[in-house]
């Protein structure tokens, strides 16, 4: 570092970019989020060609490049495929650490679903059964699921 800068507090300029966005959920995600909000249901879509079930619901199959217009209701339960525990805090996080990010293969789905686990982290592990806990007041976004939590025995 330049010597004279060691003797002083270097000049900085504070700034922030806060750009407002309005993301339209579109036809497919709107159905997914309204079902989550109004009925507490998790919806997926099935590919008419490879028969794989995707969740959250999406319109096109990434493998077959065809439209997926078959809707499937998935149970709020599944198996942890992988997870990581977060031990640092940051304002963007939806929960106080420690909490875990989990990829859950919901029963009947062919892809895993990203969400969080907030309690009983000591019971978490690959292959562990977990269940979605829905918020009482739901707003039509992914945090209408408050978190997943481990269920049953190890």
């Amino acid at each position: 570092m330049t010597d004279w800068l060691r003797e002083v507090e270097p000049l900085t300029l504070k700034g922030q970019i806060a750009v407002p966005y309005t993301w339209w959920a579109g036809d497919t995600a709107s159905r997914f989020f309204t079902a989550l909000r109004d009925e507490g249901k998790i919806l997926g879509t099935r590919c008419p060609e490879c028969r794989k079930v995707f969740v959250p619901a999406r319109r096109s199959c990434s493998r077959c490049f065809v439209e997926m217009d078959q809707w499937v209701e998935l149970p709020p339960e599944g198996v942890v495929e992988t997870f990581t525990i977060v031990r640092y805090a940051h304002p963007i996080q939806p929960a106080e650490p420690p909490f875990a990010y989990v990829l859950v293969k919901l029963d009947g789905a062919d892809v895993s679903f990203l969400h969080i686990v907030k309690k009983d982290l000591q019971d978490l592990g690959v292959g562990r059964r977990v269940r979605a806990v829905f918020k009482e007041k739901r707003d039509g976004h992914i945090l209408d699921i408050d978190a997943f939590e481990p269920v049953g025995e190890h």
């Binding site: 330049t2 900085t12 940051h90 963007i92 939806p94 990203l114 969400h115 969080i116 992914i142 945090l143």
Partner: protein, 137 residues
């Protein structure tokens, strides 16, 4: 068209916390001169320039353009694009293979000035994933 290309000089900024005495154009200026020295070349030996960067990290749009002068791009065929260093290296390779005798590639990033969690959270899908707070720390 030529069939071969070679990397003839490299330089890398020392990674360290903050670097209070250098803005990112300073980093680019110094590392460009180091790379030229490593190659035994001067800026006059350079025919084309590629800069790669990420606007979200720099906090400004067209951030690659902001270092054009610092990397000696004035009056040269310069392409300033969004990307990482690996992309820049391959883009530079393509430019050499398509006829430029020499291409200088510079990639810059000064993550200490922004918020890496907020910026990398922006990688995630705004509808399904971003509210979960994922980042790439």
């Amino acid at each position: 068209m030529m069939g071969k290309a070679a990397i003839v000089g490299v330089a890398q900024t020392k990674y360290e916390r903050r670097k209070k005495d250098q803005i990112f154009a300073d980093l680019v200026f110094d590392v460009t001169r180091e790379a030229l020295a490593d190659a035994g070349m001067t800026i006059d030996d350079i025919e084309s320039v590629v800069t790669v960067s990420n606007d979200f990290f720099d906090g400004r749009t067209i951030s690659g353009m902001a270092v054009g002068d610092a990397c000696g791009g004035q009056d040269k065929n310069i392409s300033t694009v969004s990307g990482d260093g690996t992309f820049g290296a391959f883009y530079g390779l393509m430019r050499v293979l398509s006829g430029f005798r020499t291409t200088l590639v510079v990639a810059h990033y000064k993550g200490s000035e922004g918020s890496v969690p907020v910026t990398t959270n922006g990688m995630f899908d705004p509808l399904f994933h971003r509210l979960l707070g994922m980042d790439a720390v």
